[in-house]
Symmetry: C2
Subunit: 507 residues, 2 copies
């Protein structure tokens, strides 16, 4: 199977595999220093990198500059995460002669890095989910050699970022071979198939994500594949919330739909409002007042695909434009768009479901008007499988949990929670905070694997696996499991003898 790699790729994968034991053995503090060095180096090179990125992606200087900061913050967050060591979930069960099932040996469990990982980077976050983005930071933090497949939308920026990162990693003393950048889908697929690769990460479309997930699952030795795919992020707005703050909701919605030209996986694609409410008018008014400038889409392919989806949606029966928006192409074939907001009755939405329900990647969103008495909780399974997010806008009285419709709202929250990774209240799903509690990832097709997250510190768990040590002498234990706990990580130590009373409280 290794025979299918070009000589250049074979050298890269061999180097990554050879680096794995040494990288796994590096001290957490040293890997942390290396991540912080990469963060510092990216910020030092910000001006140059942003300039390259603007030319390649059409994203604004403010957006890209902010993204470099976010990328650096992510790297520093993972530096702290790996040294804190809580992600290792270190457990120590001391030997117990009184164990309910006979003498119990000393068992200790920690998590070890998986080995070399390939990360297919994203088009829409050329820094934060690209070469040194969140997935890469998590992979390196975990101690796994990293091969990044550059996105074809920003190859020069990828090369420039890789050069900055390589220099910083080497200067920080990381083993040779822990980081490589490759170009081209065929190269990425060949590496993903190689038996020395132990996991994959991906951010992109459902179709490509599925293709790669299937390759990972159908290898002779299957590997975990963490794909962040599409999502339409439904929003539900109550009549009371509209009565309380229609203008706020309208302008927040418009900002969320149009930011980064709507090319975000957390863009609200659908907003369910009571039929006859004031919200559509408020949205139209906000659009007129706000004058949202034209924004270039990431590349001509994405622009053409957006144009098609937009036409398809506008032509669906019963769809009316609240904010018409538009798209034009310049002489280089680049598409420039202003946001389009349409409305449709629930009845027509059901009729046009096939044309309407899938993600429109770009600045477009659909207002669905629901007749009084609609069971909103039942709409989730009717229209969607999995989503990254689901949002409720409710009034302050409803938020207090004392309104008459509280049980109806609880049912809606439960229905949303059952199909998403993040449930929001009175906010907007774009702009994902990078924090320990963040969850970015929901059931298929929002991701290929919803057991973890691609944003936030839990993301590191994707690239480690549990290993137990039974009756191991101290000299052969990983630091995290030694009684002396030299790395000072959290250790859950089971009290001896407790097994006798397991379950006794619940009889």
């Amino acid at each position: 199977m290794t025979g299918t790699l070009t000589p250049e790729l074979e050298a890269i994968v061999a180097e990554a595999a050879a680096a794995a034991p040494a990288f796994a053995a590096t001290a957490p503090e040293d890997r942390a220093r290396a991540l912080v060095a990469v963060a510092d180096a990216l910020e030092a090179a910000k001006a140059d990198l942003v300039a390259i990125g603007m030319a390649e992606t059409g994203l604004t200087e403010a957006r890209l500059s902010g993204e470099v900061t976010r990328t650096a913050v992510q790297l520093r967050l993972f530096a702290d995460t790996l040294v804190d060591g809580a992600y290792l979930d270190a457990r120590i069960d001391p030997a117990d002669n009184d164990f309910a099932l006979g003498v119990r040996p000393d068992i200790r469990r920690t998590h070890l890095p998986l080995g070399p990982v390939i990360n297919f980077s994203a088009s829409n976050f050329p820094f934060a989910f690209s070469v040194m983005g969140g997935d890469s930071a998590a992979i390196l933090a975990a101690g796994c050699p990293l091969i990044v497949k550059a996105h074809s939308g920003h190859p020069k920026l990828s090369d420039a970022t890789a050069e900055v990162a390589s220099r910083a990693l080497a200067a920080a003393g990381m083993p040779e071979g822990v980081f490589h950048l490759i170009h081209g889908r065929e190269a990425g697929v060949a590496v993903l198939k190689d038996p020395r690769i132990k996991a994959g990460a991906f951010t992109g479309s459902i179709s490509v994500g599925r293709l790669l997930a299937d390759i990972a699952a159908n290898r002779p030795a299957p590997i975990p594949f963490y794909g962040e795919l599409g999502s339409v992020n439904p929003v539900f707005v109550t009549a009371d919330a509209i009565a309380e703050r229609a203008d706020d909701i309208a302008s927040g919605y418009l900002t969320s739909v149009s930011g980064s030209a709507g090319q975000l996986c957390t863009k609200p694609g659908f907003i369910f409002v009571p039929a006859g409410s004031a919200l559509p008018d408020a949205i139209a008014a906000a659009a007129e007042a706000g004058e949202i400038p034209e924004h270039r889409l990431l590349d001509p392919r994405i622009a053409r695909s957006f144009e098609e989806r937009r036409s398809e949606i506008l032509e669906s029966p019963g769809v009316r434009a609240i904010v018409p928006g538009g798209i034009r192409f310049d002489e280089d074939g680049q598409g420039w768009a202003t946001p389009t907001i349409v409305a449709v009755s629930l009845e027509d939405f059901r009729v046009g479901k096939e044309a309407l329900v899938d993600e429109a990647f770009g600045p477009l969103s659909i207002v669905v008007e629901t007749p009084e008495g609609t069971d909103l909780a039942a709409l989730m399974p009717e229209f969607y499988e999995g989503n990254l997010t689901g949002t409720l806008h409710i009034s302050s009285a409803e938020g207090s949990g004392t309104s008459e419709n509280v049980e109806e709202l609880r049912a809606l929250v439960a229905a949303v929670a059952a199909q998403v990774g993040r449930v929001l209240f009175n906010g907007w799903s774009t702009g994902v905070a990078v924090t320990p509690a963040q969850q970015h990832g929901g059931p298929w097709p929002a991701t290929t694997n919803d057991s973890s997250t691609s944003v936030g510190t839990s993301a590191i768990k994707r690239f480690v696996r549990p290993v137990a040590f039974q009756n191991a002498p101290d000299a052969f234990l990983p630091d995290a499991l030694r009684d002396s706990n030299p790395a000072d990580v959290p250790q859950a130590i089971a009290p001896a003898g407790e097994s006798k009373s397991w379950g006794a409280r619940w009889r």
Copy 2:
């Protein structure tokens, strides 16, 4: 797709799906009481159940009786685990106006049940990994409706166990439809393919496990599939350990290989010893002294397959029998075996690799004699992909970490750890303790998914997924995430403002 189910299966899956929201909403204490009620009921019915099991499986009364106890202990352990709530990994990141990337909302994250799960039960643990075994306990504890596909080796015992469990669950007030038993591989496959099923668990052979894992991965909406498959559990014995306690090692090895007629996934299949050592003779002497009685294999199919593997191994060039053992068939076609131990030089092992290296399910194990200077660490990747366990027998001087060969041993431990779920020292891999730190599950082909375990409390994590709540009013938060923490679960609360100094220590 639901159309492919028989009316009976359609009713079962529909009931399981309908029960999911109510089951997810049950209080942890109530689910705990239900698990303990099942444990108590199984123990009360022990005599009847064991009698059925003995007739169907050929396992001894002592073994099956002990297994009922183990099964009850597992259920009680999961009762405590789910109420303790540490598995929810509840995290609270309070709102933070000073966040490094701008105002940060309040984000809280817990884990919610996946929904209905199918569990394909095992042949070799008719209680502990069957109808109400470890996987089932973890699935019910997580709050997921459970459909068990009975193993064809003990259908009557499965029915009897299911009846006991159903009564106990209903009496404990669990929603109707949270537990069903089905029979037949076709039925199991049809249920696994149903879109309402959200995960699968399995214990069995590599070939069947792979078949089912592929079905799960290739569904229109793929789902996680946790298969416990085959393993050969290599053991490495140093010259010093043999000098110190050859007889102990020999008798421990023989007991581990022959227990339950070797039909355990943790049976040591290979033991690497220095060429010319005293261990083969000690093993032969232990076998003569111990007089291990004939043991019936689980069923005629397993017996015939063992007979074939045994012949294949005995006929491989350079293989010599240390303990000849044997197998005979009675008039019902059942196979009765005594343990077979063979020895082979490393050179001949390499030559006969194809015939020798795969698991022989039954009482057979292979001693591989390695010439002086063999790089043992390099043997792991040479012969094996993933295993459940790997074991070292070392001397007390070597255990102190001060022997001359300590670095060589450390390299061996690292190589073993990289390919197994559990590393043992001076013990035997059979007899897996059920504890919080246990890890039963290693890289493919030991399992289809090595991110978790099928034994020990961490097993519950396979059947929940993370969900975050952003700016949720208290009235709409799951109990585990409320400030008042009514369920008293561990909550990791991030200090506000800390993001400003992320990574600062490592610059």
